[in-house]
Symmetry: C2
Subunit: 396 residues, 2 copies
Amino acid sequence: MKDFIYHAPTEVVFGKESEEQVAGLVRKYGGHTVLVHYGGGSAKRSGLLDKICGLLEEGGLKTVLLGGVVPNPRLSKVHEGIDLCRMKKVDFILSVGGGSVIDSAKAIAYGVPYKGDVWDFYLGKADAVECLPMGCVLTIPAAGSEMSDGSVITNEDGGVKLGYGTQLCRQKFAIMNPERSFTLPPYQTAAGVTDMMMHTMERFFSPEDDMTLTDAVAEAVLRTMKACVFDVLKDPEDYRARAQIMWGGSLAHNDLTGCGLSGDWATHQLEHELSGMFDVTHGAGLAAIWPSWARYVLQQNVSRFVRFAVNVMDVPNDFTDPVGTALKGIEAMERFYHSIGMPINIPELIGRDITEAEIAEMVRKCSHNYTVTQGRFKVLQPEDMTAIYRMAARQA
Amino acid sequence: MKDFIYHAPTEVVFGKESEEQVAGLVRKYGGHTVLVHYGGGSAKRSGLLDKICGLLEEGGLKTVLLGGVVPNPRLSKVHEGIDLCRMKKVDFILSVGGGSVIDSAKAIAYGVPYKGDVWDFYLGKADAVECLPMGCVLTIPAAGSEMSDGSVITNEDGGVKLGYGTQLCRQKFAIMNPERSFTLPPYQTAAGVTDMMMHTMERFFSPEDDMTLTDAVAEAVLRTMKACVFDVLKDPEDYRARAQIMWGGSLAHNDLTGCGLSGDWATHQLEHELSGMFDVTHGAGLAAIWPSWARYVLQQNVSRFVRFAVNVMDVPNDFTDPVGTALKGIEAMERFYHSIGMPINIPELIGRDITEAEIAEMVRKCSHNYTVTQGRFKVLQPEDMTAIYRMAARQA
């Protein structure tokens, strides 16, 4: 068991019409001039953006708008946001959207008070010491950024996707109204659930396996997400199921499911190169990698995979054959991915075969020019990364 | 499902030697002159108190000591603390101990900036608007006060035990070193686990039963606590099991297991009168009441008790007989209580029969002179309280 710090101070305001409280919350956390940060047109088309801006202005707050954040959010948009915040003297950032919008906001919030280029933080060249306060109105449950300490930004110059995390960037509040996720298309819904489940699976597959309370909570989150995704794919307006998924996305990534564990995160790192190169949906990219990662690292701790198979995937435990039980858990996860429209390998993800040259390039980036390893459950050298990408390059 | 706010901002610093960080944490949260608040002699005897005071003083902080807090903490001690804090210009309260010490600290923290009597808050005559900042070094996992928003104080004048809760009194930090609970005697260990499990059971038995993620997390906490208590009763120095219990006590009561639920809390209210009258250990009092409460309210929502029986108590589900399955769950809980040395009725708790006059007096207090009901799963009128106390008055 690992010593840990657990500090998830975000105030979650959850339920129907929770967005009505937005102005009071921004004022409570010190905002006066608010950057309202959003993505594509859906927040605008649904009327949510106008509603939020109206509520803020009625509440005596100034608003500055910045839209156009795309999935795998771009550094150029972050720079644009930093300039805008400085020009308009913004003192609070409110994100309306999902993980991409919130991650972009976090980078802007780091960048505004920083004299250098905010990309320094993501490159590990500097550490942030301050940050604008932020809150969010969550519309896409997936990334968990609404309660997490992390953010991931893509530098278009070279397609480099890097993450940076500190306690500073925790959202002061997160407004979550499950109804706002009713219009999320099936593919995005499924990719979102895949992403949130992976946030917990990355923590579950740790070198430590003696923090049984965290394991039990993780399994509770995973089982519930797995059950609810079928309900919302059948009925996109199933409030109960949408609510479990929205709240599950936060619990999966606010560190609760990682207390006492180091976590692995190799699947995320391997996927970052995929979405950096092919601009695919992050959740789908994770599904395309995980089964190969799992088979590759299985022998590291078979009992951990047996626990996962039995407690999460409902595989009957064959006590005489732990490896067989573990493999059946991975196969069950593949069937689950397929059943919700997710890929289980790279060809299914990108619609064609991947070349050896592309794999080599991803390994080069993932290993930072062969200088770093990835993962903790099994520490992956560049040759391990190559092997996993090659496994994932084969059709099932 | 109920709309909810979840806001558990306490910074948890968990692990061996976590107390080494105490001075930095007090400074981080603005403390200069620190009331070090503790209970009986065990914190002193173990050397923990001296260590903490030494670390604070090395860290440039002034310390003021106040010990002698007893279980079911007294209003007179709270008044003493308020006077001391005002006299010494204390600006931070550090509790070293368990729920009684932290609850007492919360009342002191409310009282210092308040012009009237702090008991006003507990009587519902006034609402606190400010509060001294607080942190704690937890030594007794049970009450969950280290992350909760509540506190319970006993006014010796009349033996009245009342609770008061606001967001203001959340601890800024909670230092948790499982080793500090190694010396907890078996009875206190078992009563503590009973208390923490009840914090989650009070939330689980809600009028709402559609927040399946919260239910799954609650069951995870309950199952883990139930398993680990046997490990620590067998080996008091089992670090892994002590750690699960210490962290479980916080998760059981920081609201995580109540998201989307109203909660019931009748068992707690019925027990407060028992410990108000007989000064018994709170956890043991809960065990003496719950089985009678459960049988009395069972018909309100049989499927909820079936879920509890199957998912928490490992009772095989007899699909043809839900009431039978539910009752087996209650019986399994009684066997569990007995197996860890807890009572399952009032005679086992107080060592003699309880009189009708004593029951009448408890009902009078619990119903605030017949003016209030208790509970939400089933709303209990005074006659319901009488019926439950009478059931609990009978030997099994």
